[in-house]
Symmetry: C2
DNA sequence: CAATGAAATCTCATAATAAGAGATTTGAAA
DNA sequence: TTTCAAATCTCTTATTATGAGATTTCATTG
């Protein structure tokens, strides 16, 4: 889908940079985006001049220093990060665990804040790394609170993963599982994303709509049913409070 | 200076976000950039859709989740970060200190990688935070290796700071001081940026041109003359090696 | 140094898009 | 419901973007 307006066209260059393709040559960019040489070089010049891209060896481009700076700004300015910090601190003080705030945007979920008190943290999702949507407590905590018209296509899209991790065998089963999560207000998953880890996650809602998730991961050995219940309650409550503080409204859909 | 091409105009919105102004309302953006309402909203929509900006409370915009993701990508793809890591590890193993890699771009310097073995790290320049150009060993290590036509305007610009920290009283004195730094291959500063800290920095050169700096900071109490000399030699050598590895060429201007 | 070839940039006519004045819609608050 | 501010839309005109092709720059090789 080739964009026609030039603001979007220049920004589309940035869209190509991903974990699997963090470096691009101009030839590759031209081919992938369908831009002609002069047009692409013009865009590259604009992006380089503002610091969003930089050249590295081999004539390849990667994201530039202004990205680094903007992330610093983002860390400091994001109300979700600031508001969540004391909650993360309390949760990690109460249990040896890793506590994460994960934002959902577009079709991705990114950790934006985390703290760990686990002796050997086993989670490997540092700030900014996209997480899978088809697996894990975090994804499920978010999906479960989506309006049904939005949820149904996602279930189709991730049906294979959802089946594989045991959420349900059919779309109806999966829907029912999501309904249970919504009623419980929290999702729990065992080793789906990170082997050996239990993830317990509750959504952070803005006007009832999930925009992020608070997740606590503990090592599987420590995770009795009672502990999981206790952490679940704490996670649910902390997520509720964070949502209230950041979005100025009580979460109103916890018991649909 | 109002840009006329629309690629640059949309990117100029991002330029406004800074440490002192991380949040902007549309009204403020309109006023600052001189764009009309429909134009600005068009740009904001583009930037929001790609995730570079997001709305927060009070109708204010801040940098968005795609920035967070791109910084993650940048951390992993930047050859300077990867190449420097073992060097930082070695320096922090040898001394209780903080070791930093700082990139210079445009008129800013940003830490892009750091490690610390100091018992109480006193440096407060996390990844991405811009550093002052007029003070400190890092700035001086970079400036000293600039070609004179480029250095002279910078001296004028930062003359007040440079005088205040004792580099020199006149532009001639300051130039002479930079010449000495260039000959030494390393710059040393005492408490100019962070009170109580000694900074020892050497430039990382690309074809003789400074693009970054390696800096070690130690607490002032530990810093005998002999220790500073020893660290200086290690920093100079590590910076040289990093430059060689990243930019594929020996640094050729160490003894002009 | 010259030759070569790839990368990068420039020129310029034409087509496409962007801008913005003004109108309209949407959303939130009272 | 009314009001008002924020956000979006319409449409004409002006401006800019595009891209074919030419030219320059840069790096490598002999």
């Amino acid at each position: 889908m080739k964009k026609t307006n030039s603001q979007d066209r220049v920004l589309a260059v940035l869209d190509l940079f991903s974990e699997s393709r963090p470096l691009w040559t101009p030839e590759e960019l031209m081919r992938e985006l369908g831009y002609t040489r002069p047009t692409l070089y013009r865009y590259l010049k604009s992006l380089k001049d503002i610091g969003l891209l930089m050249s590295t060896r081999g004539g390849r481009f990667t994201l530039g220093p202004r990205v680094v700076e903007m992330d610093y700004l983002s860390r400091r300015a994001d109300p979700l990060v600031a508001t969540a910090a004391p909650h993360l601190a309390r949760l990690t003080a109460a249990h040896p665990c890793t506590a994460l705030i994960v934002r959902w945007y577009g079709d991705k979920m990114l950790c934006v804040a985390s703290q760990s008190s686990a002796p050997n943290p086993i989670s490997s999702y540092p700030r900014g790394r996209p997480m899978p949507m088809g697996r894990g407590a975090i994804a499920r905590s978010i999906m479960a609170f989506l309006p049904k018209p939005q949820l149904v296509p996602l279930i189709s899209r991730y049906a294979h993963d959802l089946r594989q991790v045991g959420v349900g065998a059919t779309p109806e089963d999966i829907l029912a599982a999501f309904k249970r999560i919504r009623r419980a207000g929290v999702a729990v998953a065992f080793g789906e994303v990170t082997p050996g880890a239990v993830g317990i996650a509750a959504p952070i809602l803005d006007a009832g709509y999930p925009v992020a998730s608070l997740c606590v991961t503990v090592g599987g050995q420590q995770a009795s049913g009672e502990l999981i219940d206790r952490i679940s309650a704490e996670v649910r409550e902390a997520a509720r409070q964070i949502g209230t503080e950041v979005f100025d409204e009580p979460n109103s859909n916890l018991n649909m």
